[in-house]
Amino acid sequence: MYIYDEYDQKIVDQRVAQYRDQTRRYLAGELTDDEFRPLRLQNGLYIQRHAPMFRVAIPYGNLRSDQVRKLAELSRKYDHSYVHFTTRQNVQFNWPALENVPEMLAELASVQMHAIQTSGNCIRNTTSDQFAGVAYDEIVDPRPWCEIIRQWSTFHPEFAHLPRKFKIAVNGAKEDRAAVLVHDIGINVKLNAEGQVGFEIYVGGGLGRTPMIGDLIKPWLEPAHLLTYLDSVLRVYNRYGRRDNKYKARIKILVKAMTPEVFAAKVDQEWAFLKNGPQTLTDEEIARNHRFFTAPAYESLPGDDPSFLAALEANPAFSRWVDRNVFAHKVPGYAAVTLSLKQHGVPPGDATDVQLDAVADLADRFSFGEVRVSHGQNLILADVKESDLFALWEEAKRIGFATPNIGLLTDLICCPGGDFCSLANAKSLPVAKSVQERFDDLDFLFDLGEIDINISGCINACGHHHIGHIGILGVDKNNAEFYQITLGGRQGVDAQIGKVIGPSFAQEEMADVMSKIIQVFVDNREGDERFIDTFDRIGVDPFKNKVYEGRPAGRAKKEVEA
């Protein structure tokens, strides 16, 4: 993991001092609400429904055990003893007092953490693959590049007040677990035929009100030029992105209005000035960042550990957990474990202080003291020996983090919704709960296989509903909470935006609606087909006809006419 030197620490410490002064002046009436809002947002502080919400950055999802313990401690001291992990690998406190936030920041700085640019119209936390560095299908470890981008984007003086928020994701594996195609800038780290590293740059992807898949504007960018090229993209966006309408202010709208070709040409024009300038990466800087992400002290193991194989054989529940929650590692004899934060009946992504402390202990005992956060809102121990998996499973069960549902229907992604968030049109947590209650039979869930359900309480799409196989969006209809359903979305290398199936539903209908969708899948499924493959084969009509059966509107045209 990256470790701060005196420069990194100084920058974070100066931020704490600056924010302490800003909070003091706000409370003294020297800063108005309108002035303080953008300042506090760039420090992760929202004013929410019941209390402020405070979002802390977890750069590309990487945490050390001492940092996890600090989060637990802060939740006890300043909050209601739990935290919420987000779809952008960050962590949120739901109940801090505004005047305590400077102190929380100071405590975070003591363990090399911060809340810099976790909200506001600036460059946000760079996200990546939760299995970076260990994934069996990895081409290039994206973490050193993420760290280089983190430093470049931190307090970038020119891009502090962009037209709108700006999100960058980096992927270095064959599968795309970082959702690069739905980010403002998506970067694939690649190798060419000569084995040299380079980047594929996508721009203009995003969810929200106008979901779009990003366009490839630079098929091959040499590493030294990464930052000058990013500077060029951001400068074009900062100067020409729309500022008159916040719903049209994301870079995707600019790219679409200019066309990707013209946008790319404009960036190249700017880049001609910046390329080879002082921001050009040096070999030493690239090497320096790579030194923080070397392999831990793995033991040389043959793999197929006999005690592990015996436990698999003897214990069907363990075997099921391994099947769902254990991910193939590139080093023989090791595995990456996902601790499920989707225990039925618990808000997705929530963890208590007791659970956090326990996870920190597990990380120290089993995984070199490191923890990852996934954009699926789960925690990962990335370097566990096969021979330790059974013991880890026993411990994880004890803290409620061993639900064997990763990738299954109840591993749903969900924003905090109207229970907490003042932007939300509708609550999302009760819908998540009703789905988890309806589908609580593990055997049935297991048989259904991989289904991504994503729930957002409003069009801002924090729950990424557009790229769920089944997406659920909370909408406001005459001051009542309703839910719109999309089908066929997906993330990854073939990312697609799901399509709305028809009129929305009341909250109490949602469990039945989900049952009907699943029933259509089961009735039409061939063999062990995944939900999304069945959907692609049979199309949306059978789903519409079942879900809107007996209703005035919503069934597929053909049937209505017949």
């Binding site: 600056q18 430093q151 003086p157 930052l227 002082p278 921001q279 800087e285």
Partner: protein, 165 residues
């Protein structure tokens, strides 16, 4: 006399900002004294104004430094308006004037300018600040040094941290 910040010192300065009339007409430029004319007016009246050392040019956020181009290097004063501090286009204008078009004179920020914006502005090449009249300018000047270490290449320190650490 109004007080403004120049090179971290608080000094007295009154320099009118001349705006283009609603009908598109250019206002009369006073015969003497520091004054800022809009970019369109400067471009239209360059032959008369360029010789005067006390006529500066002011940029609105949508104005393009490319239009002034190399002429920037001949000017002693340029100002950039920030109608709202959350409009960051002026940051790019500052850097382009300094880093691409060779402007070495006084670069002044005016409009929604207060303590919390000065550090970023200074790094983008601004060395003069017309702090909003309702804000404490003596406190605001301290904001320039909210941060003393930076990762990126910028105007005051073109070498990014990675070339210095």
């Amino acid at each position: 006399m109004s007080r403004i910040i120049v090179d971290k010192q608080i000094v007295d300065c009154d320099a009118p900002i001349l705006r283009v009339g609603e009908d598109g007409s250019f206002p009369t430029v006073p015969a003497a004294g520091l004054v800022f004319v809009s970019l369109p007016q400067y471009l239209a009246q360059k032959s008369e104004l360029a010789a005067r050392g006390d006529v500066g040019v002011w940029f609105a956020p949508a104005d393009e430094p490319e239009q002034l181009g190399a002429d920037a290097a001949q000017l002693a004063f340029i100002a950039v308006e920030f109608p709202a501090f959350t409009d960051g286009r002026g940051f790019s204008i500052g850097r382009l004037l300094r880093e691409r078009y060779g402007f070495t004179g006084q670069l002044r920020a005016f409009g929604d300018v207060f303590k919390d914006t000065l550090n970023y502005l200074a790094r983008c090449g601004f060395n003069a600040f017309v702090v909003r009249a309702d804000k404490d300018i003596d406190d605001a000047v301290k904001g320039i040094d909210d941060f003393t270490e930076f990762y990126q290449s910028a105007v005051g320190q073109p070498q990014p941290l990675f070339r210095r650490r």
